[in-house]
Symmetry: C2
Subunit: 162 residues, 2 copies
Amino acid sequence: MRDECLKANEGYAASFDKGGLPMPPGKKLAMVVCMDARLMPDQFLGLDIGDAHVIRNAGGIVTDDALRSLIISHKLTGANEFFVVNHTDCGMLTFEDETLRQRLTQETGADASGLQFYTFKNLEDNVRAQVQKIKSSPFLSDDIPVSGFIYQVEDGRLRQVV
Amino acid sequence: MRDECLKANEGYAASFDKGGLPMPPGKKLAMVVCMDARLMPDQFLGLDIGDAHVIRNAGGIVTDDALRSLIISHKLTGANEFFVVNHTDCGMLTFEDETLRQRLTQETGADASGLQFYTFKNLEDNVRAQVQKIKSSPFLSDDIPVSGFIYQVEDGRLRQVV
Protein backbone atom coordinates (compact mmCIF):
# COMPACT_ATOMS: atom_id res chain seq x y z
CA MET A 1 0.00 0.00 0.00
CA ARG A 2 2.91 2.38 0.61
CA ASP A 3 3.54 3.24 -3.03
CA GLU A 4 -0.19 3.49 -3.76
CA CYS A 5 -0.65 5.91 -0.84
CA LEU A 6 2.38 8.02 -1.79
CA LYS A 7 1.00 8.26 -5.31
CA ALA A 8 -2.45 9.27 -4.02
CA ASN A 9 -0.80 11.87 -1.78
CA GLU A 10 0.72 13.58 -4.81
CA GLY A 11 -2.79 14.30 -6.04
CA TYR A 12 -3.90 15.50 -2.61
CA ALA A 13 -0.92 17.84 -2.26
CA ALA A 14 -1.37 19.19 -5.80
CA SER A 15 -4.76 20.65 -4.91
CA PHE A 16 -4.02 21.38 -1.22
CA ASP A 17 -5.01 24.88 -0.15
CA LYS A 18 -5.25 24.64 3.65
CA GLY A 19 -1.64 25.44 4.48
CA GLY A 20 -2.35 28.32 6.82
CA LEU A 21 -4.39 26.63 9.54
CA PRO A 22 -3.34 27.11 13.18
CA MET A 23 -2.49 24.21 15.50
CA PRO A 24 -5.50 24.39 17.91
CA PRO A 25 -8.69 22.64 16.75
CA GLY A 26 -10.94 25.31 15.22
CA LYS A 27 -14.14 23.91 16.74
CA LYS A 28 -12.49 23.35 20.16
CA LEU A 29 -13.56 19.71 19.95
CA ALA A 30 -11.68 16.48 20.73
CA MET A 31 -13.04 12.98 20.33
CA VAL A 32 -12.18 9.37 21.20
CA VAL A 33 -13.31 7.06 18.40
CA CYS A 34 -12.80 3.38 17.54
CA MET A 35 -10.10 2.61 14.96
CA ASP A 36 -12.56 0.60 12.82
CA ALA A 37 -11.96 1.08 9.09
CA ARG A 38 -15.65 1.75 8.45
CA LEU A 39 -15.66 4.87 10.62
CA MET A 40 -14.75 8.17 8.99
CA PRO A 41 -15.51 10.48 11.90
CA ASP A 42 -14.76 13.74 10.11
CA GLN A 43 -17.26 12.80 7.42
CA PHE A 44 -20.06 11.40 9.56
CA LEU A 45 -19.83 14.40 11.94
CA GLY A 46 -19.61 16.99 9.16
CA LEU A 47 -16.18 18.25 10.25
CA ASP A 48 -13.59 19.91 8.05
CA ILE A 49 -9.80 19.97 8.13
CA GLY A 50 -8.59 21.81 11.23
CA ASP A 51 -11.83 21.44 13.20
CA ALA A 52 -11.19 18.71 15.81
CA HIS A 53 -8.64 16.50 17.50
CA VAL A 54 -9.27 12.86 16.65
CA ILE A 55 -8.03 10.20 19.07
CA ARG A 56 -8.62 6.62 17.93
CA ASN A 57 -7.87 3.15 19.24
CA ALA A 58 -9.31 -0.36 19.28
CA GLY A 59 -12.79 0.01 20.77
CA GLY A 60 -12.86 3.78 21.25
CA ILE A 61 -11.67 3.22 24.82
CA VAL A 62 -10.73 6.03 27.20
CA THR A 63 -7.43 4.42 28.13
CA ASP A 64 -4.73 6.27 30.05
CA ASP A 65 -3.24 7.08 26.66
CA ALA A 66 -6.51 8.59 25.41
CA LEU A 67 -6.67 10.65 28.63
CA ARG A 68 -3.09 11.81 27.96
CA SER A 69 -4.22 13.07 24.55
CA LEU A 70 -7.39 14.71 25.93
CA ILE A 71 -5.38 16.50 28.63
CA ILE A 72 -2.97 17.86 26.01
CA SER A 73 -5.90 18.83 23.76
CA HIS A 74 -7.67 20.69 26.57
CA LYS A 75 -4.76 22.25 28.45
CA LEU A 76 -2.49 23.19 25.56
CA THR A 77 -4.84 23.85 22.65
CA GLY A 78 -8.11 24.83 24.34
CA ALA A 79 -10.49 21.99 23.37
CA ASN A 80 -13.53 22.42 25.59
CA GLU A 81 -15.92 19.72 24.37
CA PHE A 82 -15.38 15.97 24.10
CA PHE A 83 -17.10 13.14 22.20
CA VAL A 84 -16.77 9.37 22.69
CA VAL A 85 -17.82 7.35 19.63
CA ASN A 86 -18.24 3.56 19.68
CA HIS A 87 -20.08 1.69 16.91
CA THR A 88 -22.23 -1.31 16.03
CA ASP A 89 -20.55 -4.55 14.88
CA CYS A 90 -17.39 -3.66 16.85
CA GLY A 91 -14.69 -6.33 16.89
CA MET A 92 -14.23 -5.78 20.62
CA LEU A 93 -17.59 -7.50 21.17
CA THR A 94 -16.36 -10.66 19.44
CA PHE A 95 -13.50 -11.97 21.61
CA GLU A 96 -12.26 -11.97 25.19
CA ASP A 97 -9.05 -10.56 26.61
CA GLU A 98 -7.98 -13.91 28.03
CA THR A 99 -8.42 -15.73 24.70
CA LEU A 100 -6.13 -13.29 22.90
CA ARG A 101 -3.57 -13.30 25.74
CA GLN A 102 -3.35 -17.09 25.57
CA ARG A 103 -3.10 -17.07 21.79
CA LEU A 104 -0.31 -14.48 21.80
CA THR A 105 1.68 -16.40 24.42
CA GLN A 106 1.25 -19.63 22.44
CA GLU A 107 2.11 -18.12 19.05
CA THR A 108 5.04 -15.94 20.11
CA GLY A 109 6.47 -17.56 23.21
CA ALA A 110 6.46 -14.13 24.90
CA ASP A 111 4.48 -13.61 28.09
CA ALA A 112 1.22 -11.82 27.20
CA SER A 113 -0.40 -12.30 30.59
CA GLY A 114 0.00 -8.62 31.51
CA LEU A 115 -1.77 -7.26 28.42
CA GLN A 116 -5.21 -5.69 28.70
CA PHE A 117 -7.33 -5.42 25.52
CA TYR A 118 -10.48 -3.72 26.87
CA THR A 119 -12.97 -6.01 25.14
CA PHE A 120 -16.55 -5.45 26.22
CA LYS A 121 -19.92 -7.21 26.21
CA ASN A 122 -22.42 -4.37 25.95
CA LEU A 123 -22.00 -1.45 23.61
CA GLU A 124 -24.14 1.13 25.40
CA ASP A 125 -22.66 0.28 28.79
CA ASN A 126 -19.20 0.61 27.28
CA VAL A 127 -19.95 4.09 25.93
CA ARG A 128 -21.26 5.17 29.34
CA ALA A 129 -18.17 3.76 31.07
CA GLN A 130 -15.81 5.65 28.72
CA VAL A 131 -17.64 8.94 29.27
CA GLN A 132 -17.44 8.32 33.01
CA LYS A 133 -13.67 7.76 32.78
CA ILE A 134 -13.28 11.22 31.25
CA LYS A 135 -15.53 12.78 33.87
CA SER A 136 -13.58 11.08 36.66
CA SER A 137 -10.17 12.35 35.56
CA PRO A 138 -8.78 14.81 38.11
CA PHE A 139 -6.89 16.52 35.30
CA LEU A 140 -9.91 17.49 33.17
CA SER A 141 -12.41 20.12 34.35
CA ASP A 142 -15.83 18.87 35.38
CA ASP A 143 -17.50 21.52 33.28
CA ILE A 144 -16.30 20.13 29.93
CA PRO A 145 -19.35 18.65 28.17
CA VAL A 146 -18.81 15.01 27.19
CA SER A 147 -21.23 13.27 24.81
CA GLY A 148 -21.22 9.52 24.11
CA PHE A 149 -22.43 8.15 20.78
CA ILE A 150 -22.93 4.90 18.91
CA TYR A 151 -22.23 5.12 15.19
CA GLN A 152 -24.24 2.61 13.20
CA VAL A 153 -22.05 1.06 10.47
CA GLU A 154 -25.21 -0.28 8.81
CA ASP A 155 -26.77 3.09 7.99
CA GLY A 156 -24.22 5.80 8.81
CA ARG A 157 -26.37 7.17 11.59
CA LEU A 158 -25.08 8.48 14.93
CA ARG A 159 -27.13 7.79 18.05
CA GLN A 160 -26.49 9.63 21.30
CA VAL A 161 -26.21 7.45 24.42
CA VAL A 162 -24.91 10.00 26.95
CA MET B 1 -20.86 21.29 18.64
CA ARG B 2 -23.03 18.31 19.55
CA ASP B 3 -26.22 19.57 17.92
CA GLU B 4 -24.32 20.81 14.87
CA CYS B 5 -22.65 17.40 14.43
CA LEU B 6 -25.90 15.48 14.92
CA LYS B 7 -27.51 17.70 12.29
CA ALA B 8 -24.62 17.13 9.88
CA ASN B 9 -24.87 13.39 10.51
CA GLU B 10 -28.46 13.38 9.27
CA GLY B 11 -27.20 14.50 5.88
CA TYR B 12 -24.40 11.92 5.89
CA ALA B 13 -26.80 9.10 6.78
CA ALA B 14 -29.32 10.22 4.16
CA SER B 15 -26.87 9.52 1.33
CA PHE B 16 -25.00 6.65 3.04
CA ASP B 17 -24.56 3.59 0.80
CA LYS B 18 -21.68 1.68 2.44
CA GLY B 19 -23.73 -0.42 4.86
CA GLY B 20 -22.44 -3.79 3.70
CA LEU B 21 -18.73 -3.48 4.45
CA PRO B 22 -17.03 -6.23 6.48
CA MET B 23 -15.17 -5.57 9.74
CA PRO B 24 -11.55 -6.24 8.59
CA PRO B 25 -9.75 -3.35 6.88
CA GLY B 26 -10.06 -3.91 3.12
CA LYS B 27 -6.50 -2.80 2.36
CA LYS B 28 -5.06 -4.79 5.31
CA LEU B 29 -3.48 -1.56 6.56
CA ALA B 30 -3.29 -0.05 10.06
CA MET B 31 -1.68 3.26 10.95
CA VAL B 32 -0.65 5.30 13.98
CA VAL B 33 -1.20 9.01 13.30
CA CYS B 34 -1.12 12.19 15.39
CA MET B 35 -4.51 13.50 16.59
CA ASP B 36 -3.79 16.97 15.12
CA ALA B 37 -6.92 18.56 13.64
CA ARG B 38 -5.10 19.46 10.41
CA LEU B 39 -4.45 15.80 9.57
CA MET B 40 -7.11 13.94 7.60
CA PRO B 41 -5.22 10.70 6.99
CA ASP B 42 -7.87 9.01 4.87
CA GLN B 43 -7.82 11.96 2.52
CA PHE B 44 -4.08 12.59 2.30
CA LEU B 45 -3.42 8.86 1.77
CA GLY B 46 -6.22 8.40 -0.76
CA LEU B 47 -8.09 5.85 1.37
CA ASP B 48 -11.79 5.11 1.26
CA ILE B 49 -14.26 3.97 3.89
CA GLY B 50 -13.43 0.44 5.02
CA ASP B 51 -9.81 0.50 3.86
CA ALA B 52 -7.66 0.92 6.99
CA HIS B 53 -7.55 0.94 10.77
CA VAL B 54 -6.71 4.42 12.03
CA ILE B 55 -5.11 4.73 15.48
CA ARG B 56 -4.51 8.31 16.62
CA ASN B 57 -3.15 10.02 19.70
CA ALA B 58 -1.19 13.11 20.72
CA GLY B 59 2.05 12.93 18.74
CA GLY B 60 1.38 9.77 16.74
CA ILE B 61 3.23 7.84 19.42
CA VAL B 62 3.49 4.04 19.50
CA THR B 63 2.40 3.83 23.12
CA ASP B 64 1.41 0.56 24.77
CA ASP B 65 -2.16 1.45 23.87
CA ALA B 66 -1.28 1.92 20.20
CA LEU B 67 0.50 -1.47 20.31
CA ARG B 68 -2.66 -2.98 21.83
CA SER B 69 -4.62 -1.69 18.85
CA LEU B 70 -2.03 -2.86 16.30
CA ILE B 71 -1.99 -6.36 17.85
CA ILE B 72 -5.78 -6.57 17.60
CA SER B 73 -5.66 -5.22 14.04
CA HIS B 74 -3.06 -7.75 12.96
CA LYS B 75 -4.12 -10.84 14.90
CA LEU B 76 -7.89 -10.55 14.68
CA THR B 77 -8.53 -8.74 11.41
CA GLY B 78 -5.46 -9.54 9.31
CA ALA B 79 -3.78 -6.15 8.88
CA ASN B 80 -0.32 -6.88 7.48
CA GLU B 81 1.15 -3.44 6.84
CA PHE B 82 1.64 -0.54 9.25
CA PHE B 83 2.26 3.19 8.84
CA VAL B 84 3.42 5.73 11.44
CA VAL B 85 2.55 9.34 10.55
CA ASN B 86 3.92 12.34 12.44
CA HIS B 87 3.73 15.88 11.05
CA THR B 88 5.39 19.29 10.88
CA ASP B 89 4.37 21.98 13.42
CA CYS B 90 3.41 19.29 15.95
CA GLY B 91 2.36 20.57 19.38
CA MET B 92 4.51 17.89 21.00
CA LEU B 93 7.59 19.83 19.88
CA THR B 94 6.46 22.92 21.81
CA PHE B 95 6.42 21.89 25.47
CA GLU B 96 8.09 19.50 27.89
CA ASP B 97 6.57 16.69 29.93
CA GLU B 98 7.79 18.17 33.21
CA THR B 99 6.25 21.60 32.51
CA LEU B 100 2.80 20.11 31.92
CA ARG B 101 3.10 17.79 34.93
CA GLN B 102 3.88 20.75 37.18
CA ARG B 103 1.07 22.84 35.70
CA LEU B 104 -1.49 20.04 36.18
CA THR B 105 -0.46 19.48 39.78
CA GLN B 106 -0.64 23.22 40.48
CA GLU B 107 -3.98 23.75 38.75
CA THR B 108 -5.80 20.66 39.99
CA GLY B 109 -4.13 19.72 43.26
CA ALA B 110 -3.92 16.12 42.01
CA ASP B 111 -0.52 14.43 41.72
CA ALA B 112 0.52 14.48 38.06
CA SER B 113 4.09 13.34 38.67
CA GLY B 114 3.43 9.88 37.22
CA LEU B 115 2.09 11.09 33.87
CA GLN B 116 4.12 10.68 30.71
CA PHE B 117 3.26 12.87 27.72
CA TYR B 118 5.82 11.66 25.14
CA THR B 119 6.89 15.12 23.96
CA PHE B 120 9.86 15.07 21.62
CA LYS B 121 12.57 17.37 20.29
CA ASN B 122 13.26 16.03 16.80
CA LEU B 123 10.54 15.00 14.41
CA GLU B 124 12.49 12.58 12.22
CA ASP B 125 14.10 10.89 15.22
CA ASN B 126 10.66 10.53 16.76
CA VAL B 127 9.26 8.83 13.65
CA ARG B 128 12.20 6.41 13.61
CA ALA B 129 11.74 5.64 17.31
CA GLN B 130 8.02 4.87 16.86
CA VAL B 131 8.70 2.52 13.93
CA GLN B 132 11.33 0.81 16.06
CA LYS B 133 8.84 0.32 18.89
CA ILE B 134 6.54 -1.58 16.51
CA LYS B 135 9.43 -3.65 15.19
CA SER B 136 10.55 -4.48 18.74
CA SER B 137 7.17 -5.78 19.91
CA PRO B 138 7.34 -9.52 20.57
CA PHE B 139 3.65 -9.77 19.67
CA LEU B 140 3.92 -8.45 16.10
CA SER B 141 5.66 -10.46 13.37
CA ASP B 142 9.00 -9.12 12.17
CA ASP B 143 7.90 -9.50 8.56
CA ILE B 144 5.15 -6.84 8.75
CA PRO B 145 6.36 -3.85 6.70
CA VAL B 146 6.34 -0.63 8.74
CA SER B 147 6.78 2.75 7.03
CA GLY B 148 7.32 6.03 8.87
CA PHE B 149 6.19 9.34 7.37
CA ILE B 150 6.13 13.04 8.08
CA TYR B 151 3.01 14.82 6.83
CA GLN B 152 3.66 18.46 6.00
CA VAL B 153 0.74 20.60 7.24
CA GLU B 154 2.05 23.47 5.10
CA ASP B 155 1.56 21.78 1.72
CA GLY B 156 -0.30 18.49 2.32
CA ARG B 157 2.68 16.46 1.21
CA LEU B 158 3.78 13.17 2.80
CA ARG B 159 7.50 12.50 3.14
CA GLN B 160 8.83 9.03 3.92
CA VAL B 161 11.43 8.84 6.71
CA VAL B 162 11.61 5.07 7.25
